[in-house]
Each structure stands twice: as structure tokens, then as C-alpha cells.
């Protein structure tokens, strides 16, 4: 009897796990199967027209690339820098605690709240208006905790023996950091950065509040724009064009798959 109960419970969790895999496969296949017919050179290389009913998604691709690039350009140095400070410089436990607590908090704040902050600060207070720049800066803040945490782990994983050996050769702390510790931690740091690229490229709510949703290829960093996720949201929720929506969703999913695959490979290299 006990045996049967055990087998039954095991079957339940196995089925649960299969269900989760099934859900993932269902979502991906739905988007791939219905999105693939939409994908053509024309779809990728022309701008949206008639509010997205016709034309392609070039403007949205450009907007996504720009916003994500700005976000990472700001978040990566800040995140890695603060990780270095915590792991290599800080001597005060109290300050460490405050910083760690802040990062944990940042990781839990919902994207809509980041959007509101970006709206007050970048869009209104700094007077940038709805813009690529405001969107990028907002996304940078969202990416910061993830980059910082992964960098911290990567730096911590570099054995202290390296540092001692390097110092014993007459290296200063900075030389040890830049020539030995950071290169050794690089794959880990990079995987965190790539992971957050995937995350912020798919972000919608925060971007909608800070970069707006206007069509057209942005001409400057102060232009408003409509990145892929926002485009998908508007196409689908306003029922403008489901087929274009599937095409957009497919491009987004592929982006995410590519980034996740990179992270997966990097982690493999690490271990």
C-alpha cells in the first residue's frame, strides 16, 4: 500500500513537471507556427504603416536595439562596479548590508513602478520627454540588480589564492583586479549581462511609460519610439492585426531564445 501511495505521488509530480514543459512548448509552438508565415525580409526591413496594420517592424526593431543598448551600456559598468566594491573594497559590514538590502529591494520592485519613477524623473523632471533615452535609463535601473548579483557571484568565485599569488608578485590591488580577478570572473559577469539584455529587451510596461509608443524610426535619443514589446501589446490588445502581432511575438521569442542560449553556453563553459 505504501508503495502504491509513493508511486502515485511520484506520478503526480512527474505529471506536473511534464505539464510545465508542455505549457512552454505550447506557447513557443503557437507563436512559431503562426508567426513564421509573417516573417519575410519585407516584414523585418520596412516600417510599420497604418498604425501597424500594414508594413513591417523595422522601426520597432531599431527602437528595441537602441533602448536595450543604452540600458546595458549604463547598467553594466554600474552593476559590475558596485559588485567589485562589495567584494573587493568594502570593509564595513554595515554599509555592505545596506547596499545588499538595496539591491534585493530593487530586484523586487515591479516594472510598472520603475516606469512611474522614470516618468517623474527622466521624462518630467529632467525634461527629456517620452524618449529613447528616458526608456533606456529606466531599463538600466531594472537591469542593475541582476547584473550586480551575478557579477558578485562571479567575483566571489575567484579563489583568494589568485589574489595572494598576484600580490606576492608585486601587483597592486587594482592590477590584481583588472589583470586577474575580472578576466577570471568574465564569463560569469558576461552571462549576467546577456541574461539582463534578454530581460530588458522584452520589457513593456516601464518602456510604455517612459519612451511612449509613437511609430516611426527614431532620429535622435530624444525621440519617442515603439519597441517590439510595446508594438505587440498595441497590435494585440487593440486588435489591429493579429497576424502582424504573431510575427512580432516570434521575433521577440527568438531574441529571448538566442540570449538564453548564450547564457546556457556561458554557464557550461564556466562549469
Amino acid at each position: 500500500m505504501r508503495k502504491e501511495i509513493d508511486a502515485f505521488l511520484t506520478a503526480i509530480v512527474v505529471m506536473g513537471s511534464l505539464l510545465v514543459v508542455g505549457i512552454l512548448i505550447a506557447i513557443v509552438t503557437q507563436v512559431v507556427v503562426l508567426g513564421l508565415p509573417e516573417i519575410s525580409w519585407e516584414f523585418l526591413a520596412t516600417e510599420a504603416a497604418a498604425g501597424g496594420k500594414t508594413g513591417g517592424i523595422l522601426n520597432s526593431i531599431v527602437a528595441t536595439l537602441l533602448i536595450t543598448f543604452i540600458g546595458i551600456l549604463i547598467a553594466a559598468p554600474l552593476g559590475v562596479g558596485s559588485a567589485v566594491y562589495l567584494e573587493e573594497y568594502s570593509t564595513s559590514n554595515r554599509l555592505n548590508g545596506i547596499i545588499t538590502m538595496s539591491v534585493e529591494t530593487m530586484a523586487g520592485i515591479p516594472s510598472i513602478v520603475y516606469g512611474l519613477f522614470g516618468l517623474v524623473f527622466f521624462v518630467i523632471m529632467l525634461g527629456w520627454g517620452w524618449s529613447i533615452l528616458a526608456g533606456g535609463c529606466t531599463l538600466a535601473l531594472m537591469a542593475l540588480p541582476l547584473i550586480m548579483r551575478t557579477s558578485q557571484e562571479a567575483i566571489r568565485a575567484v579563489s583568494n589564492e589568485y589574489r595572494e599569488n598576484s600580490m606576492a608578485l608585486g601587483a597592486s590591488r587594482e592590477q590584481t583586479l583588472f589583470r586577474l580577478v575580472l578576466p577570471a570572473a568574465f564569463p560569469g559577469i558576461l552571462s549576467g549581462i546577456v541574461l539582463s539584455v534578454g530581460r530588458i529587451a522584452g520589457e513593456t510596461a516601464a518602456v510604455l511609460l517612459t519612451a511612449g509608443s509613437a511609430l516611426g524610426i527614431p532620429r535622435s535619443l530624444f525621440d519617442t519610439a515603439r519597441p517590439l514589446p510595446v508594438h505587440l501589446y498595441i497590435l494585440a490588445s487593440e486588435g489591429i492585426s493579429m497576424s502582424k502581432a504573431y510575427g512580432t511575438a516570434l521575433v521577440l521569442i527568438v531574441l529571448v531564445l538566442v540570449f538564453n542560449f548564450c547564457v546556457y553556453r556561458l554557464r557550461k563553459i564556466l562549469s
Binding site: 513537471s17 558596485s82 515591479p110 517623474v120 590591488r173 510595446v230
Partner: protein, 306 residues
Amino acid sequence: MKSADFDQLNHRGEGRFPPLLLNFRTISRKIASATFFFCALFVVATVLSIVVMLGVKAVPFLNRVGVWTFLTGTEWKPLRGHFGIAPMIAGTAYVTLGALILGGPLGLGVAVFLAELAPSRIKEILNPLIDLLAGIPSVVYGFYGITVIVPWIRRIFGGPGFSVLAASVVLGVMILPTIVNVAREAIAAVPDDYREGSLALGASRWQTIFGVVLPAARSGIIAAIILGLGRAFGETMAVVMVAGNMVAFPKSILEPTRTLTSNVVLEMGYATGDHQAALFATGFVLLLFILTLNLASHWLTKKGVS
């Protein structure tokens, strides 16, 4: 390797180095440490300014309208000056609860499977898939909800399809990765002695899991649920797309509803004056609630360690 600064003893010295070089070294060290310190401060400053900025927008409004009226008012008619968010609070509570009911047990089951039962080959496949689930953008979940879940609900149960149920299903899936990962780590952290001790007493595998492992991982599992709750609570796009967004207390799970987050993203585009302030106040309420949740899960994981 946090060091008492080992170069500082010789910053005045001549040694065999010309003084110029020494100064260069001292300066570059100062610049480096100041830069890294600045980065770390930036993080702290960001959190503070998020709270302060939203607070500055929200607090005067809340003072004028009254916090209690704002939270418990049942009328949301911004153009007529009625700012009550009780229906949205209810909507958020319903969909969050629904997500936990659907995603919680499933997530915990998968976590138990991954931590206790799965052979390593299966783990190697399943873990990246869970991470992938976490990587899919919320707008894609919402899109899947519109195109698949909502029509299903309409066909099976009738009604509009855009509903508390639809939002709960979508959110239930979205919180899975959080719950699975946090709970799995908590379960895996239970020392093997516990299991061996229980098995040695003749307990079966699942008796061990229920009797020893899960109780030992209790605080980590609760933290997993809390974090999943936080994720569902703060999610915006997926909910906006499938919940129907009607401002009303839903009478059944098949009726549409509007959450706090949806309210902000739906109306912020055109809100001005008090209306805008009311939306910022909504964000502020969200933020305070999330901060409380974080503190709770922080406290729980701390407790789990010691």
C-alpha cells in the same frame, strides 16, 4: 582579501621607484576605489530616490483626499474627482490569489521533483527550460492569453473570457519559475542526514519528503510563495491584456476585473492633475506593499539559514 591598505605605508617613500611613479600609483588607486564606491552608492541612491520621487507625487494628494478614502473608496471616476481604488485592490487580490492557487502547488511539485526525485539527466533538461519560462516577456504571455486562454474560457464557461480566471491562469504560469527555483534551492539545502535518518527508520520516500524534508525547508518554501506572490502582484502587461479591465468588484471568477498595476498603465498616458497624482499614489501603494513583502521574505530566508 579586504585589506588594510598595504600601499599606504609607503606613499611618502622613495624606495627604488622614483616618487612620480609612486604618486601615480596612489592616485590611480584612489580613483579606482572612489569609482567603485560611487557605483555602490548609486544603487542605494536609486532605491531611495524611487521611494522619494513617488512619495513626493503621492503624499500631497493622499493628504488632500485622505488615505482611507483613497484605499476604501469604491468609485473610480477620475474626471469627476472620485478616486477610490478599492475595486482595483480587490481585483489585484483576486488575480494574485488565483495565481497562487494555480501556480503554487504546481511549482512546489516541480521543485520537489527537481530537488528530490529527478535523475541528473532530467534536471539538466528541465532546469534550463524553467529558466526559459522566466525569460519569456510578459507581453508574450499576455498575447498567448488573448489568443488562446481567453477564447477557451469563453467557449467552455461562456461570458466574455477576459476575466479573473484568465488573469489567474496566465499569472499562475508566470510565477512558476520563481516558485520552482527558490523552493528547489531551499529543499536542496536540507542536509542529507535528515533524509538518511528518516529512511533508516523505515519511512518511505514520500513519508520522508512530507515528514522531514519539507518541514526542514519550510521557511524557504514560504519565501518562494511570497516571492511568487510579489511577482503576480506587480505584473502588469499580461494582466492588462487578459483581465478585461472593468472597474468593478467581480462577482465571479468569470467576470472582468482591473488590477492596481493595470490601472496605472491604462490611464497614465492621458492623465493630468489630480488624476495623474492618483495614479502615482497607486504606484506608491504598490511600492510600499512590495517593500513589506521583500522585508518579510528577507527575514524568512535569513531565518532559514540560521
